[in-house]
Symmetry: C2
């Protein structure tokens, strides 16, 4: 006998990036930060009082919310702490999208969105990006025609690394009737010269929700800590109703506070990643491998003929180097390569030189 | 403008027990373990490699699943690790209960069940317990008449501490058509003389799911770690589809492994709690306060006239001692008192002696 709901029985689960158990593999496949978390995080863990774990944590991570509110110039009830950004994505669907309603996203996009939408029993509409991976000029008309309840945009985009401007985000928020979710998982790696900051838009648009995560920019993928930024009205039902009652644990709260307080350290890692992004892109080009301009911590690189992307993926894997291949339209000649440490990038380049020799 | 779904707008959120910020309060209100976690947990935290946090955790907590499987005589795919038992409760609703379907539980019961059922948009049916807080003799007929898709039973029961026998659990599992969830949050405090163990029933009943948590028995409420035990068929959609893709973090996984491996230490704390439960119950009786026989880490105690339960609750709170009062049918003359340390229990008794003098 089968007990699960019919849409659960019909769907496929999310496939996480490969996580090799051995320590030798070079993991350039899940967009992890190549540098360790801040020394303050290490200190916070060393000072954590284990005996305190017998008590429930602060249900809503108030200390973290205050630090995040101060960092972004917002108030406590604009901040929604979650067990990784993934939990926030699930929560927005639970809270705002009824069964059968339409969730719109781009094609391609982060592959978790379709999975979460299927679990919710909502209807997913994928809007094709243009030739240069830009949002289509009739995006708002498409959203209106779809009667979309929610539009989820990862910005910078995954897997291309392309950035949509603040002005364009504002235009969408202003003219879209539903909840507009901007997944800024990779925002920390945007070139500071852009002065890109969508947070001030929250004061103007109550339908806008921004997702942040500590997984990438703060080197804490293993900790599972993310947060939402939104108007108090949008944030309230998630903060006070639909969130699991103690959704973040006491250790994670403490370490997340330490990480967010370490802005100088974090920004140094972002700068190093950006510098490596430039040099890796240039070195790949010298091998005949062109990458899209990226504002993220990965490159989407086109494998030129006579080579094939899945073949290069396999050959790299055979050499202990993991990158990401997507068996999807427009992506079958490409590989997504996370920016590694200087040494990891060099080993990747050496392997590619061997393979393409 | 309101964006949340209508059933979210209409519902109230879960109210967690009070968590005073000061360290002086005696917290006998949220059924926390009065003793610290095992020394192995402390050691595991001290040895944790912070640098490893830059990488994603094992998505499904395989190391923990192996330890739990060995402990319970099960296999890896019978174990569903979750971010606290609360996440498992949410997951079972997401996975098995469609909107509008009936979820049955008892009245009274753990107050989170109605909240999660409301978020799911399911219909909650509360089945009245008998005069001695026992399950009604026509329970199965009631479940059938309700066409319940799921029956959630907390066992030992909250807030009474009453235990339903393994034979009775088996009878329900055998004759109920839906998913039968037994929430064993308090199971570790059952007198070992009962030899109560429902886990072997999993081999017989594929509709049975048992919830365990490390919050109480392993003194880790602050860590948020629980797990489900179920047939592989029942577990699979939660393990591989509806769970958030990385639902437990790397530190929690490590500490949960250490805790579950510390059976001797944990059992000592359970034995101390049971001994305190007996002595506290007897001491309360000498003050004229009768408690129900409890197999849990709390007592449900009746406040005799001329005193009133809410008044005693307030007077205790004024003395820095928190207990739980439920403004519900059959509970308005009672207080739920978590078993504290020997010293905390003594301070509670002294306060009650003063109040009732």
């Amino acid at each position: 006998m089968t007990f699960e709901r019919s849409n659960i029985a019909a769907m496929s689960g999310y496939a996480p990036g490969e996580q090799p158990r051995g320590g030798d593999a070079i993991k350039l496949n899940t967009n992890e930060n190549p540098y360790p978390p801040s020394p303050q995080v290490k200190q916070a863990l060393a000072e954590f009082d284990v005996a305190s774990l017998r008590r429930y944590p602060n249900p809503i991570a108030d200390e973290f919310r205050q630090i995040a509110a101060d960092l972004h110039g917002l108030e406590l009830d604009n901040i929604i702490p979650t067990n990784g950004g993934d939990e926030l994505l699930r929560l927005i669907l639970t809270t705002f999208v009824a069964e059968g309603e339409v969730v719109a996203t781009t094609k391609p996009t982060y592959s978790l969105y379709p999975v979460l939408t299927a679990i919710r029993g909502a209807s997913l509409s994928e809007i094709e990006l243009g030739a240069e991976w830009e949002l289509p000029s009739d995006l708002l008309a498409q959203l209106a025609a779809l009667k979309a309840k929610m539009f989820i945009l990862v910005n910078p985009h995954a897997p291309t690394g392309k950035l949509v401007s603040v002005e364009h985000i504002a235009e969408i928020a202003e003219n879209f009737d539903g909840v507009f979710v901007v997944d800024e998982a990779y925002i920390d790696f945007v070139d500071p010269d852009y002065q890109h900051d969508c947070v001030p838009l929250l004061a103007r648009f109550e339908n806008l929700l921004i997702l942040r995560t500590l997984s990438k920019g703060y080197s804490l993928a293993g900790l599972r800590f993310g947060y939402g930024l939104a108007s108090k009205q949008l944030a309230a039902p998630m903060l006070f109703k639909t969130r699991d009652s103690y959704n973040t644990d006491a250790i994670s709260q403490r370490l997340a506070c330490a990480a967010l307080s370490s802005q100088d350290y974090a920004q140094q890692t972002w700068q190093r990643v950006r510098a490596s992004r430039s040099s890796l892109s240039a070195a790949l080009r010298s091998l005949g491998i062109e990458s899209l301009p990226s504002q993220s911590n990965f490159l989407l690189s086109s494998i030129p003929e006579p080579y094939s992307a899945p073949d290069i993926y396999e050959q790299l894997k055979g050499r202990g180097i993991l990158v990401r291949y997507f068996d999807q339209d427009r992506l079958r000649d490409k590989l997504r390569i996370s920016i590694g440490s200087e040494e990891e990038n060099e080993r990747l380049l050496n392997a590619l030189r061997e393979i393409c020799a």
